[in-house]
């Protein structure tokens, strides 16, 4: 490790310093505004440090971490998403009389975990990153402690995450015992050999690791916690779990498994394909029967991760671009959707019932418009990023001739239209039995910061939905360093 490596490591150093500063500041002077301001400054400094780190030519820092453009891009994505969540959380926490300062610290540490994940090239960094992320999330989910359902959600998450972490570690141990290495580059040839089923121990190790990863991504059959945690957790934390937590793990998955270039006959390919199909089908079907907006978003995210796996399996040149583009679209869309839920939530309970959205278009035209754009983006309609993202995923799948997968994708995303439009209908269509007052649990106005974030993200969805070329070129450059 040289002093130059410290410059390469700068993003992580800044991200580590930021929560410490927020914590120390809170210890001396409790102020919500100060905590948020320091958090945003820390995140902005992280973004700046990314550009500084990008000037370095040597990107590998110890065998554990690689700060190639891929990692830098994803750290940037996670950082921006965290900033959006932090701003959205402000008025949510402000309305609830809790001490909110440590909340921001936890957001920052969780993001640090995510940043370690996307840069990890070694099992040790993988596990460290995952645990930093998970432990922060345990506390975040339960942060406004006064509600029993938060505790339920947090305990559920804690128990499941803890046990799947054990699976993950055990899987890593098995692979290491057999392969004698824990780096991605060292593992690839061994894994490729072991995947044929020749080496049972390696195969078992990989499957156990996939349990850990699958849990974080909430793909079927590891999805059970998602609806409960989404429903139980505070809405901004839900946004965080849906985006940063899943995005970081998916970026890692792409880095670890891409060198294997799975061919459609391989057992591992079939495992992933089965998981993808099950996620798309189950996610979309289960969402149909929900009346709770947060649960609908939870099932929709299960389905979206299924779509993402299709792109992941398309090993052609566009797969990494498709995954990243879809993730960016999914991040922006989910942040808007959860942002609206957050902004409308009353102190007593979150605005997660379908009734909270009835007639929203008449009382809050712009909020309803933003949510509508997000829902249409989730449904993959043109003029939104969701369309471009889904198009890229289908194109990547078609390029790799994964016809069965993309036909399932197409058919299940049609089912998705039904529940997305249900929310749209609730917002826009006047029901016969609806009185003028029966609108929304939401009392307070949408705060200025939240409104700005929602407007910016909605504009992002539309601008890059119409002209995605600059973003695609950026992503193409970013993923080029991926082996």
């Amino acid at each position: 490790m040289t002093s130059g490596d410290l410059i390469t490591l700068l993003p992580l150093i800044v991200l580590t310093a930021a929560p410490v500063i927020v914590m120390l500041a809170a210890a001396f002077y409790r102020s919500h505004a100060l905590a948020l301001a320091l958090t945003l400054v820390g995140l902005a400094a992280t973004i700046v440090s990314l550009f500084i780190a990008a000037t370095r030519t040597s990107r590998q820092v110890t065998p554990l971490l690689s700060f190639d453009t891929y990692a830098l891009f994803y750290i940037g994505l996670l950082t921006v998403a965290t900033a959006a969540v932090a701003i959205l959380s402000w008025s949510y926490l402000q309305r609830r009389h809790v001490h909110p300062e440590e909340y921001y610290m936890l957001l920052l540490t969780a993001t640090l975990g995510g940043a370690v994940l996307v840069a990890s090239t070694h099992f040790a960094a993988f596990f460290l990153g995952l645990e930093i992320l998970s432990v922060s999330l345990y506390a975040l989910i339960v942060y406004p402690i006064y509600r029993a359902q938060f505790v339920e959600a947090a305990v559920k998450y804690l128990v499941l995450a803890g046990s799947t972490s054990a699976f993950l570690v055990f899987g890593m141990a098995l692979v290491y015992a057999q392969a004698g290495t824990m780096t991605v580059s060292g593992l690839a040839p061994l894994l490729r050999a072991g995947l044929g089923g020749a080496d049972v121990v390696v195969a078992l190790g990989i499957v156990l690791m996939l349990v850990g990863v699958g849990f974080k991504l909430a793909v079927v059959p590891f999805h059970m916690w998602t609806p409960d945690v989404y429903q139980g957790a505070p809405a901004p934390v839900g946004a965080y779990v849906a985006t940063v937590s899943k995005g970081a793990v998916f970026a890692l998955l792409l880095r670890y498994f891409r060198p294997l270039s799975l061919d459609p006959g391989a057992t591992l390919f079939l495992v992933f394909a089965a998981v993808a199909i099950a996620s798309m089908v189950a996610g979309n079907l289960l969402a149909l029967r929900q009346d709770n907006v947060k649960r609908i978003l939870a099932y929709s995210s299960i389905a979206n991760l299924g779509y993402l796996l299709v792109a992941f399996l398309a090993t052609g040149g566009r797969a990494a671009v498709a995954v990243t583009l879809f993730l960016v679209a999914y991040f922006a869309t989910s942040l808007v959707a959860f942002g609206v839920v957050t902004a409308l939530s009353a102190p007593e309970r979150d605005a997660d019932s379908m009734d909270d959205y009835r007639g929203l278009a008449r009382t809050r035209r712009w909020t309803a418009a933003a949510f509508t754009v997000a829902l249409f983006s989730l449904a993959g309609m043109p003029l939104t990023m969701g369309f471009i993202g889904k198009f890229y995923v289908v194109a990547a799948g078609a390029g790799a001739a994964l016809w069965a997968l993309i036909i399932v994708l197409v058919l299940t995303s049609t089912i998705g239209l039904y529940y997305y439009t249900r929310i749209v209908v609730a917002m826009w269509v006047r029901q016969p039995d609806e009185s003028a007052e029966a609108v929304g649990a939401a009392g307070a106005a949408v705060g200025g910061g939240s409104a700005a974030v929602l407007a910016a993200l909605t504009a992002f969805l539309i601008v890059f939905g119409v002209y995605p070329t600059p973003l695609i070129q950026l992503i193409e450059r970013a993923v080029a360093t991926l082996p």
Partner: protein, 529 residues
């Protein structure tokens, strides 16, 4: 550049209409009128200007030169859009495009005029949606990049969905969601087909592009071509709609507000026919030929089934909706016959059906605004109360049943003559549909307007604004009935060029010599005599 204005004018007018409505709701209507009338005037101007060019190009190069290559377009515009995927912003217009654009803006204008009284709630938002639909429809007919086409194809779903769901009748939410899901699902199948074509072409040539003119003639195994053709067919058959994929149509047309029904029946479902002529058959001529028997059977079933179902309705609007299924059966029949006569008939049918059915929907709408029902059991003897309305309804009912002297007759006759050359049985069975059409049209007149006046309904007859609207439509249908030549001449370039593209396949055995074309023109003019 002029092509871009066709999309931009309504697209800019849309938010403008919404904005001005906050100050004065009435102003939104005028913005919408301008947003549709302006491009309409522009297309008509381009059409007139191009009339000479069309003829000159035809005379100079013969039918063979009128292929889908750059330079033979009346106008085109190509710019890179999403370069990494080889997607370009490629707009181009030929004769058929102009006809479809005229239809789009005329129906858009009609939709705005027809909602002058009927829409009083969220006026700005309504016109925003109508103009958005118009812009997207113009985009659909102008794009020659398959991605761009799909983009616009999907884009018009959202405003149409809102128009049905927000301003529709009793079961509007159900109808809107059904419409949305049917169209989206079939559209996605087309997307898969487009992507497959993109990769097959890219692998073979190294050029990855969605440019339709470059994708033409892509070599692939016949089984693959057939599957891809089915992907396109699914999308267009749902739009058209062809039996058995028609079930969204009666719901959507019936529950939509008048403006929505006019746009749906007048333009939106014509995308199905347009797409088959422009994209499906030229891309996969052999597969379309292999599918011809099934296609013609579906067409004939559609003709007869639609007519029988129309007869069975008690809801006046639903009756009109089912007549569309029947009329679109003729369109499908003509497309699968794929000879000059039939295709010219199809183009004519597209226009005449838009005019006559659009008028009938407006008529039902005005009637419903006045007597607050569409149930024919509650009508009867309305002619005595509103003779102008009765007479107008009679005219359009007769147009719908294919009365000689009106455009619809020429269109259906051309299609049947064309189909006869391919399959006598299909033509014979299709002609039976005309008999059913007479039954439902006259039965509708009998139940709604004739007979005993039992319910003592009193309401205003047609107002001057409405009379003017209908007069224009009546005049258009009569002119097309007696002198369809300008329309046929405009469409001729397209009809010839798409046939030229498919000439190598058994789909176009006649290979369209110039002599036959002249013959076709003679027959066309004979048709209406």
């Amino acid at each position: 550049m002029i092509l871009l204005w066709y999309i931009l004018i309504p697209a800019v007018a849309a938010p403008l209409a919404w904005l001005v409505s906050r100050a004065r709701p009435q102003a939104a209507r005028w913005v919408a009128v301008a947003g549709t009338a302006l491009p309409l005037a522009l297309v008509v101007w381009q059409w007139i200007a191009a009339a000479g060019a069309l003829k000159a190009a035809f005379a100079a190069h013969g039918p063979g030169a009128a292929g889908l290559v750059q330079g033979t377009w009346l106008a085109h515009l190509q710019a890179t859009w999403i370069a990494p995927l080889g997607i370009s912003f490629f707009l181009a217009a030929d004769g058929l495009t102009l006809i479809m654009l005229v239809l789009t803006f005329a129906m858009g204008l009609l939709a705005v005029l027809a909602s002058w009284r009927g829409i009083q709630e969220r006026v700005g938002f309504f016109h925003f949606m109508i103009l958005w639909t118009t812009a997207a429809l113009a985009g659909v007919f102008l794009s020659l990049d398959l991605f761009l086409f799909y983009f616009f194809f999907e884009m018009m779903l959202i405003p149409m969905y809102f128009v049905i769901a927000l301003w529709g009748h009793e079961r509007r939410v159900y109808a809107a969601i059904k419409f949305f899901i049917f169209t989206q699902a079939s559209g996605l199948l087309m997307l898969i087909a487009i992507l497959a074509l993109y990769f097959i072409h890219g692998r073979a040539t190294g050029v990855y592009t969605f440019d339709f003119t470059q994708l033409l003639g892509t070599q692939m195994p016949s089984g693959t071509a057939f599957l891809l053709m089915l992907g396109f067919f699914a999308a267009f058959a749902v739009k058209l709609p062809a039996f058995p994929l028609h079930t969204w149509l009666p719901d959507a047309h019936t529950e939509a507000p008048t403006a929505g029904s006019v746009i749906l029946a007048g333009v939106l479902i014509k995308i199905g026919a347009y797409g088959m002529i422009r994209f499906m058959a030229p891309l996969f001529p052999q597969a379309v030929y292999d599918f011809r028997t099934v296609g013609m059977i579906l067409a004939v079933i559609g003709i007869i089934y639609g007519a029988v179902m129309a007869y069975a309705q008690t809801d006046l609007k639903r009756l009109v909706a089912y007549t569309s299924v029947s009329h679109m059966g003729f369109v499908l029949l003509g497309i699968f016959a794929w000879n000059t006569l039939a295709l010219q008939g199809v183009v004519l049918q597209i226009v005449c059906h838009a005019l006559s059915t659009g008028a009938l929907f407006i008529l039902v709408g005005t009637l419903q605004d006045r007597i607050h029902t569409r149930d024919m059991a509650k009508m009867g003897g309305l002619w005595a109360v509103a003779p102008r309305m009765g007479g107008t309804a009679m005219f359009f009912a007769l147009a719908s049943l294919g009365l000689p002297g009106l455009g619809n007759f020429v269109a259906e006759l051309l299609i049947l003559v064309g189909a006869w050359q391919v399959s006598k049985w299909a033509a014979v069975l299709g002609a039976i549909g005309l008999v059913f059409a007479t039954v439902y049209a006259l039965w509708m007149m009998q139940r709604a307007f004739q007979g005993q006046e039992t319910h003592a309904l009193r309401f205003d007859d047609l107002l001057p604004r409405e009379t003017g609207m209908y007069a224009a439509l009546i005049a258009a249908l009569v002119i097309l009935g007696f002198y369809p030549q300008p329309l046929i001449a405009t469409a001729r370039q397209t009809v010839t060029s798409v046939q030229q593209i498919t000439a190598g396949s058994p789909l176009s055995p006649e290979a369209t010599s110039a002599a036959q074309l002249l013959l076709a023109d003679d027959t066309a003019t004979d048709g209406e005599r």
